[in-house]
């Protein structure tokens, strides 16, 4: 399990990228997907997920669709066009960051 300290700054990027790749997802689905992709080493807590999702929505990078399933109400998140363009930036920013970290810490990054 990666420390949550490391996780904090990157959550937005993760969510954006996941949504880019999978189109339309709801909260629970997102947590399951991240769990899958990280082979279980990142367990996304709801306490972290939903606030971030809402902030991204407030910033205009995500939009939501609500679907009624009987008594349950499911909220699907998708990227807005603005969100889509941000994803690339954020991801490449992060890759750059890793390279820099590698240089500073004098280790190899792959």
């Amino acid at each position: 399990m990666h420390s949550s300290e490391l996780l904090k700054g990157t959550l937005q990027t993760i969510l954006l990228k996941v949504l880019k790749d999978n189109g339309k997802m709801y909260g629970y689905e997102i947590t399951q997907r991240v769990k899958e992709l990280s082979a279980g080493s990142i367990l996304l807590t709801e306490g972290a997920l939903y606030p971030t999702l809402h902030r991204l929505e407030a910033e205009g990078l995500l939009k939501t669709d609500t679907v009624m399933l009987g008594k349950r109400v499911r909220k699907y998140y998708t990227l807005t066009p603005e969100g889509k363009s941000t994803v690339k930036e954020r991801v490449s920013e992060f890759v750059e960051f890793i390279k820099t970290m590698g240089n500073i810490l004098q280790v190899e990054t792959y």
Partner: protein
């Protein structure tokens, strides 16, 4: 994956609700997430309840869930720009959602503020009278109070020599000015053909401009009125007679005999002044008034006198010294008039008074209502009254506003509950309410400004003023803005504090306890509003009844069908000829010539009194009677159809009538003439000694030939004074009794005769009953104003009641639904809903009646002749209010009672 049954889902939803997950925008997501997670666990083989609790654990149980919810809400609100916008958006959304209540709220407050605004303008105007005088603080008027011979008189006048005597003896006085009002004049220029009647003419001393801040545009204020036969005229007068702007040095001819030179033109006197003179005539020289001004008699008081005190002089101290003036100048003359054993002490011991006092210029408009005022003044009592009414109306409107906001906010309890659960976000709640109520208040004030603007002309008509909104004055907007903020904040704080007292659990469970305390306050407010409304209704009814009483009371003469032609003296020397010609007209029944009319009005209507005593005795303070001394002709009594009870009226066949008098019943009583007064005599001083005091060696006697029934000749506020009719020449008016319906034709015929006999003089007439009505013009206006404000207060109170009822009915929808299902009839539900308000109105009635009774008693006390305000009036006011309130409440109750119970119960 729908492994969860419907029951399971319902359970989860309810459970999460209990744990406090209620925020819109997040709780549905969380529910869905938890459901999905629970399903996943159940797939692994757990039972539903175990799966659910496992999921909860991963969320950190209730605390963790709440934390999450809090975080989301916090992050949403953290951006301050979004925050304010958020409040505003929610505020607007709420206002739109509750459009109906918002409308009533805004409307009620706007009406209240508008009414308040108008009244404030009125009060400011009234309080500013005479302030245009830069020396106003040092200007005082000399008032006289004389009680003697059955007469008690408060006068704004002094005697001719008073001013100079005072200035001589008291160094505190810098300057004095006197006035003499001699009624209206017919004025024309030297080349003019038509005379125009000028009302605002007065004789005055040259010191006028030294004391009063009247701006002289042409001419020298110092010398303008120093020479005889000079006039100073106002700008509008100059424009009227000399439109080419060359007034200075020109002539104006007064009453076709006095040729005066225009020596100054001054700026029109502002409307906020207790006098508005257009022509000032210098009081020096040979003309009659000028000569009168040189008199040294201190006992006859016809000259309003004003003093300018030196800087730093304390008026009160000077006032106390004035006894010296009385002892030095008045005492001796009184002694000569009343007999040798006169002393001031005996005079006063007999209950008489002769006193002078100083009155501030700035107090005149609101505190002086003596006989002979230049114009009808205002009254400080009305300032207090209207000020209180304005305050009340404003308070009612604000109360309604707060009431309604509070009631509505209970509906948002769920939101409240959430916010409360947030704990530290309670401040958001308060700020939300404050934003909303401030917004609504500011909007109301804007509407109020518009309403006031529309309503002002109507009010100006009622109050005979020319008020206007100072729309260009930034102070107006600042004051309004601050007031709106204050009211908005107060209205917003009350509901938010009130709601802060809730326990969040209760709120979320749906138990919105409106609490004993709040219900009590609200009821008190409703009662208060209706107390005021009932009071105003009773006031309006009282004033109108008194007016009706006055209009219909027997006066002792017939006021209808009498035409009055003014300024008959303009006909000289053809006055009798006019009368003879007029009598030839078929519809003219009778015609009398006299300046004395049985109605009070302008100063053109003559009044004269004199001192008489029963013949045979020596005149002394005990038996002197102050008698109205009216000069009439033979037809007077007939024309006015007065009732001669004993003896006879004047008759041209009796030559001895030239020394006869017809007394009214009050006079007979005062003289003590007994049951058979015919033939008895009364005496008076027939002449003056060289120094001006009455000559005890010249006594005239008059024989009583008849007794006329007491008739009202002044306001019904006064007792009927002793009056005597004498046969002497007086040609102020020609009064004509007309019969038939065609008064227009008659008037035209009369005008033709006039034009023949008095060419170039204006023919002016009025009807006696209209002039009579004018005496009570101020009461009429008062009645209208009361009526208007009563209506306003009721409207505002009802608006509040209407909205409140609607709200309460809504709150009790479920209760009503159940009652209906259990078989209650529509009427029983209506009664249920109205019962509470009915009780409040009865309480209001009980409180209002004694207050109203006190008010009515106080107002009617000023009338000697008054109507009865019996219990019926109070009852009527109470019933009227009850009926109006019931209609208001009833509509909502019936709507609620007839709604479909199934629907109301289903929407739970």
């Amino acid at each position: 994956m729908n492994n969860l049954t419907s029951d399971n889902i319902a359970y989860i939803i309810k459970d999460l609700n209990y744990r406090g997950i209620v925020a819109e925008g997040i709780h549905e997501e969380l529910i869905d997430h938890i459901c999905s997670a629970t399903e996943a666990e159940m797939v692994k083989g757990k039972k539903f309840i175990d799966a659910y609790h496992h999921v909860l654990k991963s969320f950190g149980h209730t605390a963790g869930l709440r934390q999450t919810q809090k975080q989301i809400l916090q992050s949403e609100n953290q951006k301050s720009a979004i925050m304010l916008k958020n409040y505003l958006t929610i505020a607007f959304r709420n206002l739109k959602k509750q459009g109906f209540y918002s409308f009533i709220n805004i409307g009620g407050l706007a009406v209240g503020v508008a009414a308040c605004l108008v009244i404030v303008l009125f009060i400011i105007d009234e309080l500013s009278f005479d302030k245009f005088n830069t020396r106003a603080n040092r200007i005082y008027r000399v008032n006289h109070e004389i009680k003697f011979g059955g007469n008690h008189m408060l006068m704004n006048t002094s005697s001719a020599p008073t001013a100079s005597a005072l200035q001589q003896d008291y160094p505190e006085i810098e300057a004095t000015v006197r006035f003499r009002d001699y009624g209206s004049y017919l004025v024309k220029t030297a080349e003019g053909r038509e005379s125009i009647k000028e009302q605002n003419v007065i004789w005055t001393d040259s010191t006028f401009f030294k004391i009063f801040s009247v701006n002289v545009l042409l001419g020298d204020p110092k010398t303008a009125l120093r020479e005889p036969a000079s006039v100073a005229i106002s700008r509008r007068t100059a424009d009227k007679y000399f439109p080419y702007g060359n007034a200075l040095g020109q002539s104006l001819i007064l009453d076709s005999k006095y040729n005066a030179k225009v020596t100054a033109v001054y700026e029109n006197i502002p409307s906020t002044s207790h006098f508005h003179f257009d022509i000032l005539i210098s009081m020096v020289g040979d003309w009659p008034v000028a000569k009168e001004a040189q008199s040294t008699v201190f006992l006859s008081n016809n000259f309003p006198t004003y003093l300018l005190l030196k800087e730093g002089v304390k008026a009160k101290e000077l006032n106390n010294k004035l006894g010296g003036y009385l002892a030095k100048y008045v005492g001796p003359q009184l002694a000569q008039a009343l007999g040798n054993d006169f002393t001031m002490e005996k005079f006063k011991a007999a209950g008489n008074k002769y006193e002078i006092s100083l009155m501030r210029l700035l107090d005149i408009h609101l505190h002086s209502n003596f006989k002979g005022e230049f114009e009808p003044n205002g009254n400080i009592a009305y300032i207090y009254l209207f000020g209180t009414i304005a305050l009340f109306i404003l308070v009612i409107a604000c109360i309604n506003f707060m009431n309604l906001s509070t009631a509505r906010s209970s509906n948002r309890a769920k939101e409240v509950g959430v916010r409360k659960v947030m704990g530290s976000l309670r401040s958001h709640l308060v700020r939300q309410f404050l934003t909303e109520s401030t917004l609504v208040t500011i909007f109301s004030f804007v509407v109020a400004l518009g309403l006031a603007y529309l309503f002002l002309p109507f009010f100006n008509n009622l109050s005979l003023k020319r008020l206007h909104l100072p729309l260009t004055d930034p102070a107006l907007y600042m004051i309004l803005f601050v007031a709106a903020l204050v009211i908005g904040l107060m209205a917003g704080l009350y509901p938010s504090f009130f709601l802060s007292a809730f326990k969040p659990v209760n709120v979320l469970k749906g138990h919105v306890a409106l609490g004993m305390k709040s219900g009590f306050i609200r009821s008190t407010l409703v009662v208060f509003q209706f107390v005021i409304s009932i009071f105003l209704i009773i006031g309006a009814i009282t004033v109108n009844r008194q007016l009706n009483y006055i209009q219909s009371k027997k006066l002792g003469f017939e006021k209808d069908q009498v035409l009055l032609i003014k300024d008959a003296y303009a006909l000289r020397p053809n006055v009798q000829s006019f009368r003879n010609e007029a009598l030839k007209i078929g519809s003219v029944e009778s015609c009398t010539i006299s300046g004395f009319l049985p109605v009070e009005g302008s100063s053109e209507i003559s009044r004269h009194d004199n001192t008489f005593w029963k013949e045979g005795k020596q005149p002394n303070p005990d038996n002197l009677v102050s008698l109205q001394d009216w000069r009439v002709d033979n037809d007077y009594i007939n024309t006015f159809k007065m009732n001669v009870k004993k003896g006879r009226g004047f008759n041209s066949e009796f030559l001895s009538d030239s020394s006869a008098v017809v007394l009214n019943e009050a006079a007979i009583k005062q003289f003590g003439l007994g049951d058979d007064p015919i033939g008895k005599k009364i005496s008076t001083f027939g002449g003056e000694r060289p120094d001006g005091s009455p000559d005890p060696n010249q006594i005239e006697s008059w024989t009583v030939i008849g007794v006329v029934e007491d008739f009202h000749f002044s306001s019904m506020k006064e007792n009927i004074l002793s009056l005597g009719l004498f046969l002497r020449k007086s040609d102020g008016f020609i009064s004509i009794r007309i019969n038939g319906n065609n008064s227009q034709e008659t008037i035209q015929s009369l005008e033709k005769i006039w034009k023949q006999l008095a060419p170039g003089q204006p023919f002016q007439y009025s009807f006696l009953d209209e002039d009579f009505g004018q005496m009570y013009a101020s009461e009429q206006r008062l009645g209208q104003i009361f009526g208007a404000f009563a209506g306003l207060a009721i409207i505002i109170a009802c608006l509040g009641l209407f909205a409140l009822t609607a709200f309460t009915a809504e709150q009790r929808t479920k209760e009503i639904g159940i009652r209906k299902v259990l078989g209650a009839s529509v009427s029983s539900i209506v009664i249920l809903l109205s019962k509470e308000f009915g009780k409040l109105i009865i309480i209001a009635f009980v409180v209002a009646v004694p207050i109203a009774w006190l008010g009515v008693d106080w107002w009617l006390k000023s009338y000697t002749y008054k109507t009865e305000i019996g219990g019926l009036v109070y009852l009527f006011a109470g019933l009227l209010t009850f009926a109006i309130a019931w209609i208001t409440v009833g509509y909502q109750s019936i709507k609620a009672a007839t709604s479909d119970p199934v629907r109301s119960l289903k929407n739970e």
